[in-house]
Symmetry: C2
Subunit: 324 residues, 2 copies
């Protein structure tokens, strides 16, 4: 089994070889630009891993892996417009560097490029692969819409939040794995199980993200610890706190949420103290663990020798014990 | 052969049957809304006509025809954002009725829905059909990007303009016909010829649009005659006038183009007078006729009895002698 690092190198090399027409420059340069900003290439690596898991040749999975990466970056390009974000991974976002219309149209072209890459599979699996891709793309749009609604909603329920992160984040991990499995020659049942592994892992991954944003080690966490608290972001932690707080604690929490101006470290400390009092971290960790367990059960149920699945198991363990 | 009117009814009925999930409402309601605004359904009708031309069952072509219509409306939804347009066919645009983010995201979901519908073809033609769809979608994005660039460009060349309208408008007509031909069982050569028929007809159609905007009968033309002149829109007529005017006429034309405030009927009359002096209408008509001729030659070359092709010929004649 190729190591994750090797897979990431393979993908980085393949991304560099993706070339687009020189004209119209404002349509294609943003695609090359956003793809060059990088990221961990985890999603495309999952396509390759899944293909390899079932004994397929990872060369056959490279274009579909790129399709997943191009698709993911298309969603980032459009999400950044919707979120009015000036920066992405420390670099200017496309709509900031060019303009909004370029961001919209270049993103549209990118989604089409994703389909072109995804079609580079054998005829025998073309339809099922594209059906998974369609389903994934629809889920991500739904998840993003629900996420935007949450911003204007005061009473988000924990179940709705979990469904949102499933749609917006987790389905892509599942879809990437399921597509890779089909390329690798898996039967439908095993491909489904691998989808579930990825989907449930994706939810666990996002819950961990929520935890790290508050409880991450400032030395190791890439972003500013407490960013979600400062922005009143409706994470698992905040929703759970609002749900479980007694009357006085709720008043205090709502006070911090209502402040238009505040001292940031003070707000972060105060809200974190509330979370601590309510044992939100433990609660979130438990929820994360439950999703991880479901994920691992699906992996175990796949009809392959345990040692063959060890690599994915370790990969998932690694993901869920990360500190950034 | 079913009449165009009947085909439009078939499509309208099929559009009404397209149902989307109730939630998230802001993702799916705009899709139903923009599709309900209507339009002439010419593009999907072309898919059905082409299928029928080669002896196929038009029932097999309905979903792909809807795919073309959904795709077309996706481009309208995003173009309206980019053009900052408040109205579309007299109704509020999606970004105006909801908001911009809804327009972006709902459009994205719509493109995916287009792919889902386009995939409802036999496995034997799935790949070529999707390849045409991809090529078409890419062309439309390129055309829209070039069109936006033209707005900020003072020296647009006539060749560049013709290439822009080919990409933005004509390729979809060609693609719709080519896909319908494949569904109807055409061989690659005949499908290609029908593509050329549609593409060249599309360019002729757009040139006629440019002519009608200035020379249309105000009683019959749906929009305000002279709209392009008021907006300094770079049409075939304006570009040709800028290209062929002598120094004095050019100065006069540029004067009208430079005015920030003007009396609209006065400007329309003055620019039309310049066009008349330069015989721009005749020139544009000649260009339109040349594209129509190429279009008809391609249709003639298709390996089918002439009487079978008569219907499409008449349809094209009808399109090019329209008054609105």
């Amino acid at each position: 089994m190729t190591t994750l690092k090797d897979l990431q190198v393979i993908i980085d090399e393949a991304v560099k070889k993706l070339t687009y027409p020189a004209h119209p420059a404002d349509l294609y340069e943003p695609i090359t630009y956003i793809l060059s900003i990088g990221g961990k290439r985890l999603r495309p690596a999952l396509v390759l891993m899944a293909c390899d898991l079932f004994g397929g040749d990872i060369q056959d999975a490279i274009s579909p892996a790129l399709a997943i990466e191009v698709f993911h970056n298309f969603t980032l390009m459009h999400d950044d417009i919707m979120d009015n974000a000036p920066l992405r991974r420390g670099r200017e976002t496309v709509h900031q560097k060019w303009n909004q219309n370029v961001g919209i149209l270049s993103g549209d072209a990118m989604l089409v490029e994703g389909y072109k890459l995804m079609m580079q599979v054998d005829n025998s699996i073309l339809r099922p692969v594209l059906e998974i891709f369609n389903k994934t793309a629809t889920a991500v749009c739904e998840g993003q819409q629900i996420d935007m609604q949450f911003e204007e909603q005061s009473n988000v329920q924990i179940e709705a939040y979990l469904e949102m992160i499933r749609l917006k984040t987790a389905v892509v991990l599942g879809g990437a794995l399921e597509i890779g499995a089909l390329i690798g020659g898996a039967n439908e049942k095993d491909a489904d199980l691998l989808y579930t592994f990825g989907e449930q892992l994706g939810i666990a991954f996002q819950l961990q993200d929520d935890i790290l944003d508050v409880y991450g080690d400032p030395e190791k966490f890439g972003k500013q610890v407490g960013g979600d608290i400062m922005a009143n972001k409706k994470t698992y932690l905040l929703i759970k706190a609002l749900e479980t707080a007694d009357a006085d604690t709720l008043t205090e929490l709502n006070h911090w949420l209502s402040l238009k101006e505040f001292n940031a470290p003070e707000k972060v400390a105060a809200v974190t103290a509330i979370y601590n009092k309510l044992q939100i971290k433990e609660n979130a960790f438990k929820a994360m663990q439950a999703y991880a367990d479901t994920s691992f059960s699906a992996l175990e149920a796949i009809n392959l020798p345990a040692e063959r699945k060890q690599y994915l198991k370790e990969f998932a363990d690694g993901l869920l014990s990360r500190e950034n």
